[in-house]
């Protein structure tokens, strides 16, 4: 016998879940139409072309360097912000949030201005680094877009590790760096790895700032998102779609890894 209250309960769940289904349907619609349009054989065809793999490789190694740079800044700064109080805390919070929320396109344009003005333009000319239309510019853009985001993540990681461990470690005679490397860092390991994966995935997907900062020339600054745009504009839909699908693959795999590792973070 179906009770009225049961019906109410189930209809309640169905009502809210319906919205999830709507969104899922939207995503499914996008993915399926694209997959159907491209066709599996075409996908394999384009995937086997060296050009595709050059793009993929470029994306991966530039994103990796940018991620290393981001984490190298992110871990120290995140630790600092988690442990110490700074004067003008509000100003600092705004400053850290700003680069995350500012449109990446705007970040790109500011990087353009930054590299054309003193002192940065003299430094780059002295060192002979070329940023315009070059891969170094790609790395700079990927780094700039991800670094603040990275800091927020690392800061949250260190905030979950109680400072008491460091106090005890130091009372036993270990210096702060010793306790940091032997205790805090290992305890934060899982959250930091999650942060690294997210930052890397974000760096792989960065394009908007590149459009404004570096400009795109075939074969030189082709990271995957850029290749998608260029191929699209050039009418080469097959190439563009294949690269796109690969981007989607990278995104899903990264987020799945985050999901698996994220569940194993140290409690405490």
């Amino acid at each position: 016998m179906i009770k009225y209250s049961h019906v109410k309960q189930i209809s309640w769940v169905i009502f809210f879940s319906a919205f999830v289904v709507i969104i899922l349907a939207g995503i499914g619609f996008l993915i399926i139409t694209n997959v159907l349009f491209l066709g599996f054989s075409d996908f394999m065809y384009y995937l086997q072309k060296p050009r595709t793999w050059i793009n993929i490789a470029t994306t991966i190694w530039t994103a990796s360097i940018a991620t290393i740079l981001s984490m190298s800044t992110g871990i120290p700064v995140g630790y600092m912000l988690a442990r110490y109080k700074f004067p003008c805390q509000k100003f600092m919070d705004t400053l850290i949030d700003l680069p995350v929320m500012v449109p990446p396109a705007a970040v790109g344009i500011f990087l353009l201005g930054l590299f054309k003005t003193f002192p940065v333009n003299s430094v780059t000319s002295i060192l002979g680094i070329k940023v315009d239309h070059a891969l170094s510019g790609v790395i700079v853009a990927q780094f700039t877009v991800t670094v603040s985001f990275c800091i927020r993540l690392t800061m949250a990681s260190f905030e979950t590790i109680s400072p008491r461990y460091e106090y005890v470690g130091r009372s036993l005679g270990a210096s702060l760096p010793y306790t940091f490397f032997k205790i805090s860092l290992p305890l934060a390991k899982n959250s930091l790895i999650v942060a690294l994966i997210i930052v890397w995935a974000r760096a792989c997907a960065e394009w908007e700032s590149l459009m404004l900062f570096v400009g795109g020339i075939q074969g030189r600054t082709d990271v995957m998102p850029f290749a998608v745009y260029l191929d699209f504009v050039g009418g080469k839909l097959g190439w563009a779609l294949t690269t796109s699908m690969f981007c989607v693959l990278i995104a899903i795999v990264s987020m799945y890894a985050v999901h698996r590792i994220g569940g194993k973070t140290h409690v405490r």
């Binding site: 809210f16 879940s17 319906a18 919205f19 969104i23 899922l24 995503i27 139409t33 694209n34 159907l36 349009f37 800044t73 120290p76 700064v77 630790y79 600092m80 509000k90 919070d93 705004t94 400053l95 949030d97 680069p99 929320m101 449109p103 396109a105 705007a106 970040v107 500011f110 353009l112 201005g113 930054l114 003005t117 927020r152 993540l153 949250a156 210096s175 702060l176 760096p177 997210i198 995935a201 792989c204 997907a205 960065e206 394009w207 908007e208 404004l212 995957m224 998102p225 850029f226 998608v228 745009y229 699209f232 981007c247 989607v248 995104a251 899903i252 987020m255 799945y256 985050v258 999901h259």
Partner: protein, 282 residues
């Protein structure tokens, strides 16, 4: 022991260096653009139309995101939907997708044969139209919104709901009177985040909607002319067009407009939640 002291100084130095760099990123551009460019920009009617267009589309996008996203977030937070893992991973993946991919997928999806036929039957063409801006913005606004709203609902102890219902309140009433107010801070924060992300959208709009500024007058509907948003692009696209046209100073000026809008958002966010972005909730 100097070990600890040296360590702290190095950390301080790196942090200060970072702060200075962020400030300089913005400040150096103030020098690059001059007041004349800014004033010239403000005098162009196209600029103000862009502002209106950006604001209008973002607001509509945010409203749609709220209507669809908040119930969905609640469902994800509270119910054990089959395949939750896949759904979580999927929704999280959207945030790390390149904007060009999103734009391209949208383009292909709406140009797909059967879908195209539906559009033709209805007499509309979605690709390259103004409503398409909203669709393009919606993808990421929804992704960010759901992330924030889900976290907000996760933070509300289900015990409050149990108690309310034991006191006789229906589930719907409990949701409106107990759950939502408890999650108020997180919900508002999510709304601000979704709106800001919609304002910031560039890549997907570029590929899906293309540009509007250089189109002919007749291509715009009466509504858009009435609203004063014809022949204008959303701000980020407008900014890019200036750069492509060699007009870097005005492009940077638009960039600053966007930064100021972002600052207002961040300020609003800080005011609402008392803390900054809670990106620790993955």
């Amino acid at each position: 022991m100097s070990g600890s002291r040296w360590f702290v100084y190095v950390l301080y130095a790196i942090t200060i260096l970072f702060i200075v760099s962020v400030c300089w990123l913005f400040l150096s551009n103030i020098g690059y653009t001059d007041t004349q460019s800014v004033l010239e920009l403000f005098s162009r009617p196209w600029f103000w139309k862009s502002v209106k267009l950006s604001l209008l589309t973002s607001c509509v996008t945010t409203i749609i995101a709220i209507v669809v996203g908040i119930p969905a977030s609640y469902a994800l937070s509270r119910f054990n939907i089959p395949g939750k893992t896949i759904i979580d991973v999927l929704f999280a993946s959207v945030i790390v997708l390149p904007a060009s991919t999103i734009g391209l997928c949208l383009m292909v999806a709406f140009q797909y044969e059967p879908i195209l036929k539906i559009q033709q039957a209805l007499g509309i063409r979605i690709v390259h139209s103004m409503p398409s801006i909203i669709i393009a913005q919606l993808v990421l606004a929804l992704a960010f919104g759901i992330k924030a709203w889900r976290a907000a609902f996760d933070d509300v102890n289900p015990r409050y709901e149990h108690v309310a219902r034991s006191l006789g309140s229906s589930r719907m009433r409990t949701f409106w009177k107990v759950t939502l107010p408890s999650a108020k801070v997180g919900i508002l924060a999510g709304i601000v985040l979704a709106w800001t992300r919609a304002m910031a959208e560039f890549g997907a709009v570029l590929l899906f909607s293309s540009t509007f500024r250089n189109r002919h007058e007749t291509q715009f509907s009466h509504i858009s002319k009435f609203l004063g948003i014809d022949r204008a692009d959303i701000l980020p696209v407008g900014m890019w067009m200036e750069i492509e046209g060699g007009n870097i100073e005005q492009g940077i000026a638009i960039g600053f407009v966007l930064v100021i809008i972002t600052l207002l958002s961040v300020y609003a966010l800080n005011k609402i939640s008392g803390k900054g972005l809670q990106t620790n909730k993955i």
